[in-house]
């Protein structure tokens, strides 16, 4: 059985980058799974989903069982099926790569199963009898919601405090539109909350509307899944001009406006950065009609944080990748608008990145900054930090007794949805132990 064809660039903001499998495709693809023992794909998954088990269930027609297997390990299996960099996780480990250079399409099969269950609208998990314990979860993103769901299943009462108007965190505000079509983030959040025992209070930001001290006083335990609120600056002149924006804000605007008109028609966009956010912003700019989109990165392509798959996605979407360019200043038109970005060529000398004094100027109507995010330390008084993140032990316990943390705000691994879900679930189990102890 041949592998499914590789996808190229997205066709539009509201169309699936990778379309769902139809039943025939799912049947053929699931039959390719060898049902390995102690499978490498499971080891490669941060949430350790029983991948051979769920694919086996698809082959026997037990699609519901397949979905429950996935969601038992990862309650955001639907989002992860869409956005996980499977090409460097489960599918990279698939043994079919060795003989045929074509892995089983695990992500797409996972979507096939989870979509079927969510279309039924049934919550397959039941809550244990109430323990009477109450846990505060700060942040309704992947870490917070996965933690809340597991705590609710274990019989604890959960209140989620969320600064924004909608639940889902980056699933709702930050992931690429063409990976999360059809309002999926909200469907999934509603599905997760339907287990019961979870209240979400929107418009409650830590350090503004609520304090850690209050939460510790009023709840039996606290989980922080606050993500990274702050965007890193370029620290170059002209950065504050109109026409320079944060890539994350740009994507959030597109996600929330459901913007699909070619509002950037004829415009030249320069994206600065080399991670997946930079790629997402550049591809979005192209889909909004921008004539020229250049992604400029200060090191080589092999150093980019974005996976090769994502880089190719940008390249097949008409984004020019320019490397070894470090931003020096943003040039204005004399008023408030911008005209260009001036870069300095860089090179590696003895492993160290240095400037060369040669400059390159790229004309730009819009500059999007994607040079990383950092922890917004607001409201974290008393918490020990390490490496700019919240410090925790292996279970997610912070330096404050009864306060746990997970997701992007801790240094737990890759900043991926699947890692945040793994953190949230693991912390829920640790909180359960803490409350019993």
């Amino acid at each position: 059985m041949a592998a499914l064809p590789k996808t190229t660039g997205p066709k539009g903001l509201t169309e699936d980058l990778v379309p769902p499998l139809n039943p025939l495709q799912a049947m053929a693809e699931s039959a390719r799974c060898l049902y390995c023992y102690e499978a490498a794909c499971v080891t490669a998954c941060p949430t350790a989903i029983d991948i051979p088990g769920f694919i086996r269930a698809i082959t026997t027609g037990n699609t519901r069982g397949a979905a429950v297997t996935i969601l038992s390990a990862n309650i955001m299996g639907g989002t992860c099926a869409r956005v996980c960099p499977t090409e460097v996780l489960c599918e990279a480990a698939c043994v079919r790569n060795k003989a045929e250079a074509a892995p089983v399409a695990i992500g797409r099969l996972q979507r096939f199963a989870t979509d079927a269950l969510m279309a039924e609208g049934v919550q397959p998990f039941r809550r244990d009898p109430s323990t009477g314990k109450r846990v505060a979860v700060v942040g309704a993103g992947p870490a917070g919601l996965s933690c809340a769901h597991r705590l609710a299943r274990l019989g604890h009462g959960v209140t989620v405090f969320e600064a924004k108007a909608k639940a889902g965190g980056l699933n709702e505000y930050g992931l690429a539109a063409y990976k999360m079509t059809g309002g999926f983030a909200q469907c999934e959040a509603a599905f997760i909350l339907s287990v019961g025992g979870i209240t979400v209070e929107h418009g409650k930001a830590l350090g503004c509307d609520i304090t850690l001290e209050e939460l510790r006083r009023e709840f039996d335990a606290v989980f922080l899944g606050i993500g990274l609120g702050g965007a890193n600056a370029l620290h170059v002149p002209g950065e504050d001009l109109e026409g320079v924006a944060e890539a994350v804000d740009f994507i959030e605007m597109i996600r929330q406006c459901r913007q699909a008109d070619p509002v950037l028609a004829g415009k030249r966009v320069v994206v600065i950065g080399g991670g997946n956010t930079a790629i997402d912003a550049a591809v979005h700019a192209r889909l909004l009609g921008a004539e020229e989109v250049t992604l400029a990165y200060r090191r080589g392509q092999e150093h980019m944080g974005a996976t090769v798959h994502e880089q190719q996605l940008a390249q097949t979407s008409g984004v020019a990748l320019r490397t070894w360019l470090s931003p020096r200043r943003v040039l204005g038109d004399g008023g408030t608008a911008i005209e260009a970005v001036e870069f300095e060529r860089t090179k590696l000398v003895g492993g160290k990145l240095v400037g060369t004094d040669h400059t390159v100027t790229l004309p730009a109507d819009l500059v999007l900054k994607a040079v990383g995010q950092s922890l917004k330390a607001q409201g974290l008084d008393g918490l020990e930090l390490a490496g700019g993140r919240v410090k925790t032990d292996d279970s997610g316990h912070t330096s404050l007794p009864g306060v746990f943390a997970g997701g992007d705000c801790v240094k737990s691994g890759e900043n991926l949805t699947v890692q945040a879900v793994a953190d949230g679930t693991r912390a829920a189990l640790a909180i359960d132990q803490f409350l019993k102890g």
Binding site: M1, M27, R56, T60, R64, G65
Partner: protein, 422 residues
């Protein structure tokens, strides 16, 4: 989730999935791993009188499809080749450690009462839940007057069953061979002998293939080969038919059945149960995938029962038996026609050529723009299903019932039948 607990001949198990008497149940190590994986019960690999048999090297052959998926499996292994005492000690210990699981012990002996009763007495002492008489092994043992050599002669089936039944308190399951002319002869013989239950089928006598370099049957043992026992998905239809023959036969209908033969998924098990089996036994699927295969069997059967509104196995066991009839009881006035969905069609042309060359020339090709449109000629379609089976796309070709005001008429009543009864 539905209740999957199961009782057959008074033997209970938490689910209807047992491992059949075969290599996976040869010793405590395997059986404990099977119970840990969730199997509801086992039939311990057949015990014989000491000294134990000696097996040959090279024992299995397989029939694979192009994707290396297993279709059928064949073996020339004999019964347990371990000393009887070791097997008995292990059976006793495992049963003690796993009281909620069914522990049935398979046995075979030569055609003397003393031999059978001698073994039964020893097994009785293990605390096992029941006995399964191996009257079916079609290779090796039958050359020594055991296995199918007994099972192929109804009188011997009855006699052995009676010997055992009159010498034990344990429930007795008689395992039948499919290598016979009419399964009812041996099933009825088992019942006359007092069997508490029947299990079937044992393996089908087979020669899995020929090694064209060695010019010998596979599996090749030093340049020679012998016929073996065939099992796996390919034998399921043979087994389903034999189960149905027994459950719809008034004399044997009330005898509990343990269904065996190619059970690979929960759906296979549900089919055996629908035809009246009380549980199923599995071997090949476990040998191909490992014991973990039972997880999806349990989960899938439970989910299917929930979706159907069945709370216990009894809610659907035997539900299809009343619809298994003789050809002469089918409705001659029923008609269905193939329908091809052009939206799903991928233009392979297989339905056309199958019908054109080998059936009723009822699928026409019409050129529409640069695409071929496959159309069923209703007047010529006899509703045989061939096109729907060769179509690679599920749901593309469906069979639709023709609306008819004609009554249910069987062949014996049909006006076209020159020998009709009315």
């Amino acid at each position: 989730m539905a209740d999957l607990s199961c009782t057959i001949a008074g033997i209970t198990s938490p689910n209807p999935f047992w491992l059949a008497s075969a290599p996976p149940t040869d010793k405590a190590y395997n059986v404990v791993r099977a119970f840990e994986a969730g199997w509801g019960g086992v039939v311990w690999k057949t015990l014989g009188e000491d000294p134990p048999v000696v097996n040959v090297s090279s024992r299995y052959g397989a029939l694979l499809d192009n994707g290396r998926q297993l279709i059928g499996f064949n073996n020339i292994e004999l019964i347990s080749d371990r000393p009887l005492d070791i097997n008995l000690q292990e059976i006793k210990q495992v049963k003690r450690d796993w009281p909620d699981r069914a522990m049935v012990v398979s046995l075979m002996a030569t055609m003397t009462e003393d031999a059978w009763v001698g073994l039964v007495r020893k097994i009785e002492d293990t605390g096992a839940d029941g006995l399964e008489l191996n009257l079916g092994c079609p290779h090796g043992m039958c050359e020594r007057g055991m296995g199918s050599a007994i099972g192929q002669v109804p009188e011997l089936v009855e006699r052995v069953t009676r010997w055992v039944k009159s010498n034990t308190r344990m429930p007795v399951i008689v395992k039948l061979t499919p290598n016979i002319t009419n399964i009812l002869w041996s099933a009825e013989a088992a019942k006359r002998g007092g069997a508490d239950a029947i299990s079937l089928i044992n393996t089908v006598s087979s020669l899995i293939g020929v090694d064209l370099d060695v010019m010998a049957p596979m599996p090749v043992v030093d340049g020679k080969g012998t016929h073996g026992g065939y099992c796996g998905p390919a034998v399921k239809p043979i087994a389903l038919n034999m189960v149905a023959e027994i459950t719809r036969n008034p004399f044997t209908a009330a005898t509990p059945i343990s269904g065996i033969g190619g059970v690979t998924t929960w759906r296979d098990a549900a089919e055996f149960l629908a035809l009246g089996a009380s549980n199923v036994q599995v071997c090949t699927a476990a040998m191909i995938y490992g014991f973990r295969i039972v997880q999806d069997m349990i989960d899938g059967l439970g989910n299917w029962m929930d979706a159907k509104g069945f709370r216990t196995l009894d809610d659907f066991v035997g539900a299809a038996v009343k619809n298994v009839v003789n050809w002469n009881d089918l409705n001659m006035n029923f008609a269905q026609k193939a329908h091809i969905n052009p939206e799903l069609c991928i233009d392979c042309g297989r339905c056309h050529i199958a019908c054109e060359d080998t059936s009723h020339q009822a699928i026409r090709i019409r050129a529409v723009d640069d695409k071929r449109l496959f159309e069923v000629v209703n007047e010529d379609c006899v509703g045989c299903n061939l096109c729907s089976h060769v179509c690679p796309v599920p749901g593309c070709i469906t069979m639709r019932r023709e609306v008819s005001a004609l009554p249910y008429v069987t062949w014996p009543q049909d006006p076209r039948n020159p020998n009709r009864i009315a």
